[in-house]
Point group: C2
Chain length 239, copies 2
Amino acid sequence: MNKSALVYDDLRQKIDRDVYQPGTYLPSENQLCQLYGISRETGRKALAELAEDGYIQKIRGKGSIVIEHRQYEFPVSGIVSYKELAEKMNVTTENVVYGFEEHVSLPVQMFTSLRVEMTAEPVTAVKRLRVIDGEPDIIDKDYILTAIVPKLPKAAAQDSLYAYFENDLGLEIAYATKEITMEPANDEDREQLHLDPGAYVAVVRSVTSLADATPFQFTESRHRADKFRFRDFARRTKK
Amino acid sequence: MNKSALVYDDLRQKIDRDVYQPGTYLPSENQLCQLYGISRETGRKALAELAEDGYIQKIRGKGSIVIEHRQYEFPVSGIVSYKELAEKMNVTTENVVYGFEEHVSLPVQMFTSLRVEMTAEPVTAVKRLRVIDGEPDIIDKDYILTAIVPKLPKAAAQDSLYAYFENDLGLEIAYATKEITMEPANDEDREQLHLDPGAYVAVVRSVTSLADATPFQFTESRHRADKFRFRDFARRTKK
DNA sequence: TAGTGGTCTAGACCACCCA
DNA sequence: GGGTGGTCTAGACCACTAC
């Protein structure tokens, strides 16, 4: 691991464990150099990531103050897999694969608003129902490019697509564009999520790309409106 | 302006104007050094920001490839004021201030889920209706700490709170935590947004803080469900 | 005045990609 | 082997904060 990543992890851990509490200051940059035996720019890199992730706020002439930071909320913030999230929370979850089709066409029209170049390439289509604490809350529809993942094992869909992509195939997942809208529930939503007529669902559509900038996974995630929550941390960009 | 910011702006502008098109590579880091007369780390800083903002993807051994990037969508992504957004889009907007109360208490219970330390401090409460293309789409309820903004002119609410905070008061807005949920429309929603009974609204609650880490503005933004859209760009964080 | 973070530099070594 | 990005260093100068 990098030196800066090690410093980042150590500081973040200490913030999480309240060694450094919100409202107090971290050691100064010069002190970090001595504490960790690093150069100043290396320490600054770690601090910059902490700031980016919402752990600290840097104040010129004073120091880096610990702030109340976002915590991962269900269902998602950033790119985190359902399984990773479920492990962070203390919830019992179940994962029902109720659709699995190979060599179908990517439903391009579903993702046009995300403005990613795409064609109706062959994909593997997976439908999953996420059951949280005994209640069906989310429908996930994934379309994975056959060109990247030629033969998707059903077991991977049952367990975790991300774990399969990263650990078994060695794919490097880099970034995603996602979009949240609210839409009236369709028949499938009402059936799977046990919704009344006239109900709404929160729809998250995302396109996930690899480190070489290839979009390879298209996901439509449909959430019960009353269970949906999305948290975000944003910094003001200077003009 | 910084050298790295100048380089960032120049590159971003050229990407926006298709001088560097999606799918092609930017000049290499060493070339950027010569092109702009800067050191490599300075250029790298500019490139890191472009990557963070979703403009490029850096590929080791190859270069920095331009990717399709997010564009600002109505109503919000990151911290951008309503006025700034309206100017980026080509829409006619109207801004109706229909509530203005000074020296009231902050409705703490509305924002508890954002887990920011707060007390029922005195605030100025502003209610605004955003009318887009002749249709009322958004209700914004802002609560601004009197301790930071003692006397908020009504004209500022009519124009732009952000412009007033930044340009007139010299406040430095740094970051915000926000949360998106879906909730049944209440009476006020139905009246202002002309909704039917049983309709839902998308609710964005946010807490905005200054550069010295002081939370000073609490906002509840209620959107017509059918007009709500939120776009996000996220990078996969390495474990 | 001393300490803080903000920026920039010139150089080094490494891992990766590709011809 | 030559070019690319990834990381780290040691030092410099600046702007801001606090006393």
